[in-house]
Homo-oligomer: 239 residues x 2
């Protein structure tokens, strides 16, 4: 009997494991000995938090890099043939969403292996749920351009699309650029456009706020979201 390729989510904030993963998902992770990971350091911390019964040095923990090669992937998936399970682990959240894990999953499908996605935290999904914006149709853009002019053009284009289609636009930013992106939305978008900002989801400083651009602009500084050093998810819906 061949093994299963698990898509194993991991925590997205400093929080107890039992707020992030179902018990059965943690149990599957503890039974697994082969891990294909985006970041070895964070994966080891996760396996330690899980209380994996094997010493970490006895586990096969392989960093997949940003553009894994087909020959490497075939080797990494080989344990499946001899009946061992393999788990793909992202640096944070759900593997295969905004990370390079999808390449491994595609190779597993091509080889006919069983693929099972497991339940866990996704900052994109949690932000969308908590945004109060229409989740019936939505689009995830990943990161927007960094240069101010390109960023403004990108914001204008996605705001236009949101207005035409009634579709929520979701994008993310790194901890050190979130505040600049927030300011750029207030400067660039229409006053009636609604913006939700989610930071430190599932963590001790979790905060989700949603207002119109007009209301955010009028909002005192101490009631704006604190985005410094915290990953943020933005959801935007134009009317």
């Amino acid at each position: 009997m061949s093994g299963t390729l698990y898509l194993l989510p991991c925590p997205i904030a400093a929080a107890p494991l039992d707020a992030a993963l179902p018990a059965e998902v943690a149990a599957i992770a503890r039974r697994t000995e082969y891990f294909l990971v985006e970041n070895a350091k964070s994966a080891r911390a996760f396996l330690k938090q899980l209380g994996h019964p094997r010493p970490l040095r006895e586990l096969a923990i392989t960093e997949i890099g940003h553009a894994p090669r087909a020959a490497d992937i075939a080797g990494w998936l080989a344990p499946l043939a001899s009946g061992s399970d393999v788990a793909v682990v992202s640096e944070a959240g759900c593997p295969g969403i905004a990370d390079p894990g999808g390449t491994l999953v595609a190779a597993a499908h091509a080889a006919g292996w069983r693929v099972r996605p497991l339940v866990g935290p996704s900052s994109i999904l949690l932000a969308l749920m908590a945004s109060g914006l229409d989740g019936q149709r939505f689009r995830f853009h990943g990161y927007l351009p960094v240069a101010p002019e390109a960023r403004a053009a990108s914001l204008k284009a996605l705001e236009r699309e949101s207005r035409t289609r009634g579709e929520t636009q979701v994008f993310i930013e790194t901890p050190y650029r979130g505040a600049a992106l927030f300011d750029a939305v207030l400067e660039t978008c229409a006053r009636s456009t609604r913006l939700a900002v989610a930071a430190d989801l599932t963590g001790p400083d979790e905060h989700v706020g949603m207002r119109t651009v007009e209301a955010w602009t009028a909002c005192p500084a101490d009631r704006r979201p604190v985005l410094q050093r915290r990953p943020a998810v933005f959801c935007l819906l134009a009317s």
Copy 2:
């Protein structure tokens, strides 16, 4: 101290609760006595499965309908003011995603209540993770049109968009129309377009397959996904 509006996910398949929800999420649900739900019958079954400590008849379980009115919403959220928590529950999966719960969340933000999204299963996200298709950019369309001509036009438009943007297109179908939609993709889309089909996610008959349209067409009937009477999620990426 005022209460919190929780976005409480519920199972998407017949499976043990500890495969679907983190223990802390189940504990929050058991402490809550006010529930705003998409479907009262499925919500009661969920609360029974949770082993809620109060008899179900003593809990406030309110169906929100498809287009809740502002006056009703204000009343439903009133327990927050007196310090009680309120949980929004979808018929299946995560509230606020492809369901009417978003309206309640928007009202809670406008009134300044704390909103907390909780971790749980989302068929959209699980399908995308397991598809092996690029999750760096994706778009969720909800249901496509039912009429064959409109459905084909919609498939062609989203395939074109996927090709131009390198973006995975995600759409869903009801249990009794999934097989027809699968056939429509094979008839309508390019041979090189990749299609992932996920059915009964987290359930006993979970199956995720991903092939090109050409490979699906050549695939013997007994290796195609069984979509009858099972909700399905489709992910499509054109090259």
